[in-house]
């Protein structure tokens, strides 16, 4: 789950990382009021869950409350990468002396959290990692011990941070570490952390990604999810515990198991079609889940055919077929359905579905060909 900049900075602030005193506005009038309270120059920052806000014109400076209102009006009317801007963060403008990158993420290969830092902040760190990896300092953290102060010192030295800031920088690192570990984040990033002309450290921008699997122990964080920012079908799917991702093809896919679901998409493509979605209905494939999944797929008007691919192992294929038939009584699709059942009692299952006028297939390749033909007919 992605958090907005303002949400991430609130969390950082709570854990002792210095952040600007700004607030979020949903209207231009509110933005003006906040600018008045803050006094001086402000930055108006669009709050959407995509990168490249600055380049898109979604982050702008305003010299007065009046200008803040004007700028906020413009930004609140924008779309950035297809997402309408619904909120802006109004922050006091900082006098920047130097920009630093500081982040913590999970290093899959090392199986440890890793601090990453660079004296060249404010830029796309993935780009720096590709083009000038020597400019990034990496420090792995023992997951059983957590961050040690000496490691934060090592980072300060590594990025040539002026000595006078070391003590404060260690505190920032500790705060970021607490935010990362206490929120079960998969990424906690300050970009940029700046040294101001007044010689203080402050986190001007913040980004956090949270581990969806850990949200059960963070109900407060789970509530921060901004459903405005995701495809409505994905929100709906989550309610039924279905794993769904919308794509832009014409063949709706419904499969049990994530690996098999990806494979089904791939094979549709291999035989000249385009998958409309990824959808894992999980094991069992009961009638209720199948019905919910069908509704979600059918809500996409691009879908011209449905390919249902189920491996019946412990749940037998005839049971799965009965579940599908029950679901079809509930949702009545008016587009062709190709069904492939394989595994235990597959023949009995296929017969039940063929009797109900569905196109059945034995092999994955056969199913994909039939689905592609049905979608283009």
């Amino acid at each position: 789950m992605k958090l907005h900049e303002y949400q991430s900075k609130q969390i950082f602030g709570k854990h002792g990382v210095p952040v600007p005193k700004g607030r979020v506005a949903t209207t231009a009038t509110e933005a003006r009021q906040i600018a008045e309270e803050l006094g001086g120059r402000v930055v108006i920052k669009s709050q959407v869950l995509v990168g490249g806000r600055g380049k898109a014109g979604g982050i702008r400076l305003a010299k007065s409350p009046k200008e803040a209102e004007e700028v906020a009006t413009q930004i609140l009317g924008m779309e950035i990468k297809g997402l309408p801007v619904r909120k802006v963060l109004v922050d006091p403008a900082a006098n920047i002396e130097q920009e630093i990158y500081l982040g913590i993420t999970n290093d899959r290969a090392a199986r440890r959290p890793v601090f990453m830092a660079s004296g060249a902040g404010g830029v796309d760190i993935e780009e720096v990692a590709r083009t000038a990896p020597e400019k990034i300092i990496k420090v792995h953290i023992d997951p059983l011990l957590g961050l040690r102060d000496y490691q934060a010192n090592d980072i300060a030295v590594g990025i040539d941070l002026p000595k006078e800031h070391w003590k404060h920088f260690v505190e920032v690192c500790r705060g970021l570490w607490r935010a990362y570990s206490e929120c079960d984040a998969t990424l906690a990033e300050i970009n940029p952390l700046v040294i101001t002309k007044e010689n203080t450290l402050i986190a001007l921008d913040g980004k956090m990604l949270l581990d969806d699997n850990a949200l059960f122990r963070h109900p407060d964080l789970a509530e921060m999810r901004d459903v405005d920012e995701e495809a409505p079908a994905e929100t709906e799917a989550r309610k039924y515990d279905l794993s769904f991702i919308k794509l832009d093809g014409t063949i709706g896919c419904m499969v049990n198991g994530a690996g098999l679901a990806m494979t089904t998409m791939d094979i549709v493509k291999l035989f000249g079609g385009a998958p409309a979605n990824f959808l894992d209905i999980g094991g069992g494939a009961g009638a209720e889940k199948v019905a919910a999944a069908l509704r979600i797929i059918l809500a996409d008007k691009n879908v011209k055919a449905i390919l249902l691919n189920v491996f019946g192992g412990i749940t037998r294929c005839d049971e799965v077929a009965k579940g599908i038939l029950t679901a079809l009584e509930d949702v009545k699709p008016n587009i062709p359905m190709v069904v492939r059942l394989v595994g235990t009692n597959a023949e009995e299952g296929r017969k039940l579905l063929a009797d109900a006028n569905m196109i059945t297939a034995e092999t994955l390749a056969d199913a994909a060909k039939k689905a592609v033909a049905a979608a283009t007919a």
């Binding site: 969806d212 699997n213 794993s243 990806m262 192992g313 412990i314 235990t344």
Partner: protein
């Protein structure tokens, strides 16, 4: 021969009284696996499945009473890390965690601890493993595979069943099939299994099923090129997966420009591995 589990495996089921635990214990017993004990705090002293399996309050007491050497975990995600720590502390040498949805920071701590103790974990978020004709430790349907000479290792559940089933259709069987699971941090990886299959005299060929996310397939390719004498056939799922999206499995995500299927296929082919275009092609490549 086989790897990791066989007819000498003495299995302890953690969370044996839950729906999943009980159902799969029954399936494993029916397959012939020696399930010697189960645990569920508060239910010690009871028996389940018509008196076939004794239940203990803790792993420690179960191990002491029954000599269990392997455990399988069916408890929910919030309790799974603790169950793994408990099994390791009770002296279990091989732990299989079926549970899906374990937080990744928990897994980093678990893995660090187990590495220090020298305990092997399989999973989490995995279907377990099957040595056809000898032992089934997990949820892989027993009837879809026959004993044979092919070692099978995979990050996916149902996709593995597909492959086992396709092999069985043409009369090919497996030594052991290992589901390593779909999480970003897991206990046993491809290289661990490839090494064990290389060392197993009964295994003649290996099937490795990967998917998008991480770089384990690329590392496996290096290992195959430098250390393996047995032929490996592979399939990688997720050619059509968009970047930045988690495809069902927590670990199946292309991020920061790495983890794509194309990169993995390229690395494997460069290592001399035959990569199938779709899973049904695998038997013909063996």
């Amino acid at each position: 021969m086989s790897i990791l589990v066989n007819k000498d495996t003495r299995l302890l089921v953690q969370g044996i009284t839950g729906n999943e635990g009980l159902f799969h214990t029954q399936q494993m017993l029916a397959y012939g696996t020696k399930v010697v004990a189960g645990t569920r705090p508060g239910k010690g002293g009871e028996w389940v499945l018509d008196g076939k399996v004794p239940v203990f309050d803790s792993c420690k007491s179960a191990v002491e009473a029954t000599g269990a050497n392997t455990s399988i975990i069916f408890v929910s995600a919030r309790f799974a890390p603790d169950a793994i720590f408990e099994a390791a502390d009770a002296g279990i040498a091989f732990i299989v965690c079926i549970t899906e949805g374990v937080p990744v920071q928990d897994m980093m701590r678990v893995r660090e601890y187990l590495d220090q103790k020298g305990v092997r974990l399989l999973g989490p978020n995995c279907p377990g493993l099957l040595t056809p004709g000898e032992a089934k430790v997990g949820i892989i349907p027993g009837n879809i595979a026959i004993p044979g000479s092919i070692g099978c290792v995979s990050r996916s559940g149902t996709l593995t069943y597909e492959v086992l089933y396709a092999l069985k259709q043409v009369g090919l069987g497996a030594t052991t099939c290992v589901g390593i699971g779909g999480d970003p941090i897991n206990g046993t990886n491809f290289i661990d299994c490839l090494q064990m299959f290389e060392d197993d005299p009964r295994t003649e060929k290996v099937v490795m099923i990967g998917e998008i996310g991480g770089s384990d397939e690329e590392k496996a390719a290096q290992f195959i090129a430098s250390k393996m004498t047995k032929p490996v056939v592979s399939f990688i799922a997720g050619q059509t997966a968009p970047p930045g999206k988690r495809m069902g499995h927590a670990g199946a995500i292309i991020e920061g420009g790495s983890g794509s299927a194309a990169d993995k296929v390229k690395a494997l082919e460069a290592a001399g591995v035959k990569v199938a275009k779709h899973p049904e092609e695998i038997p013909s490549l063996l």
